[in-house]
């Protein structure tokens, strides 16, 4: 467990900005496997490899690729629903993996397909730790805040409450004025 958390700490997804170089080798193999169609298969893959960029920010991932037809995908960690890791035989030999991610969108296929990842496990753990429901701490924090609020510990000025107090005070004044007036009338 300790070694795992240590590895987790050492992993910084912000360093992943490009697919691993071995992805190009994989794409060459894929294109070779298509025999006659080699150039038609390889050129798009090559462009994809060359233009592919990842950005792992604090709250989300963006990914862009394409030269003539440019595409960008943005998503936040909190909305990630499904994390897949798929590796075929060749990818396993090369130590590569695909990490398709799903959000609630109804598209067929993955919302974002992260390809050319050398070590998928730390990346998956990273994403897993940030998706909803992976940890309870944040919920507990929110609950504690709500309880503090209920307990009357005021941290921020509450406009509704101060308005209510003003109404109450105005009413009190009105009542005392009235009773004074009625007392005067009686005397």
């Amino acid at each position: 467990m300790d070694t795992k958390t240590a590895a987790h700490d050492a992993f910084d997804p912000a360093t992943i900005t490009r697919p691993d170089d071995s992805l190009l080798t994989y794409y060459v193999l894929v294109a070779v496997a298509s025999l006659v169609a080699f150039p038609f298969v390889f050129i798009p893959l090559f462009i994809r490899f060359k233009t592919l960029r990842y950005r792992f920010a604090d709250d989300g991932i963006s990914m862009s690729w394409g030269l003539l037809f440019h595409k960008e995908v943005y998503l936040t960690y909190r909305r990630v629903q499904d994390i897949h890791v798929t590796r075929n035989l060749v990818e396993r030999w090369m130590g590569l993996a695909k990490v398709p991610i799903q959000t609630a969108s109804g598209t067929s296929g993955a919302t974002m397909k992260i390809v050319g990842i050398k070590s998928p496990e730390p990346l998956r753990d990273f994403l897993y730790a940030r998706m909803r429901g992976a940890r309870a701490e944040e919920e507990e924090q929110a609950e504690q805040e709500a309880e503090q609020q209920e307990g009357g510990v005021e941290t921020v000025p509450d406009e509704a409450l101060s308005l209510l107090r003003e109404i109450r005070d105005a009413l009190r004044e009105l009542r005392s004025n009235r009773s004074n007036r009625s007392n005067e009338a009686a005397s």
Binding site: T76, I83, L89, R92, Q102, G106, R132, G133, D158, I167
Partner: protein
């Protein structure tokens, strides 16, 4: 004979597994899920009856194909006995070898299917050539289907489908799908699994769509005890006025 055959089969099977794990990098151990020590964790294969279920289809297919091949060979024999004799050995190989390979593949397929559950999430792994691992947190689960066909019923197994938002009916049935649903095949105790999952889904107070109210919005919306106290005082004042 059966004991020796069993031993031989086991030896062959272990050898195949070693090739798979050493050369084909098929992981032998169940997938892990991040969970604190001592937390609930359950990892399991499909039910053994799922193996029998797959074998039933294997035998049906084998008998049909082999009978067809046998019939073809007999026809050749009748037409020309000499060619028939020459073809006897290849025909036998064609009849037997794919059957053995398919039989081993069924066992491998079964042994590479893993389901892991913790209090927070579910992870499924399947596949030999393409290995797919799917991770879902229960916070995101929308619904659970339990499906069972007549043959499933006979074997006492079910398919449990765990869906997140955005799952469609068509996706996910193919072996390479990476959709919004996890398909747990060959579950022998679907009731318990369903209970385990739904119990955890029920704990979630959101709709599972990433729609957590932030602390700030909750603060604005909530009428706390302080508010209610002042409101009560206002009510008293108004009553005293009237």
């Amino acid at each position: 004979m059966s004991e020796r055959a069993e031993k031989a089969a086991e030896w062959v099977y272990r050898g195949v597994w070693r090739v798979l794990s050493d050369w084909f990098r098929v992981p032998e151990h169940p997938p892990t899920l991040p969970a604190a020590a001592g937390e609930f964790r359950l990892s399991f294969h499909p039910s053994r009856r799922y193996l029998s279920y797959m074998k039933l289809f294997f035998w049906i297919l084998l008998v049909v194909i082999d009978l067809a091949l046998l019939a073809g060979w007999i026809v050749v024999c009748i037409a020309d006995a000499q060619v028939g004799m020459l073809l006897a050995l290849p025909a036998l190989v064609i009849i037997v070898v794919p059957g053995i390979i398919a039989y081993i593949m069924i066992h491998l397929r079964y042994d590479t299917m893993w389901y892991v559950m913790t209090d927070r999430s579910l992870r499924c792994r399947r596949g030999i050539w393409v290995i797919i691992e799917h991770t879902i947190t229960f916070e995101n689960v929308q619904n659970v289907h339990v499906k069972r066909g007549p043959v499933h019923y006979f074997f006492g197994i079910s398919t449990v489908v765990v869906e997140t938002a955005g799952a469609s009916e068509r996706e996910g049935e193919s072996a390479f799908a990476v959709g919004n649903k996890a398909i747990m095949q060959g579950i022998g105790n679907p009731k318990e699994i369903r209970e385990l999952i739904m119990e955890r889904v029920d704990r979630s107070r959101s709709a599972g769509l990433g729609d957590e109210p932030s602390a700030a919005t909750r603060r604005e919306a909530a009428w706390g005890t302080a508010h209610r106290g002042v409101l009560r005082e206002i009510l008293e004042e108004v009553r005293a006025l009237g």
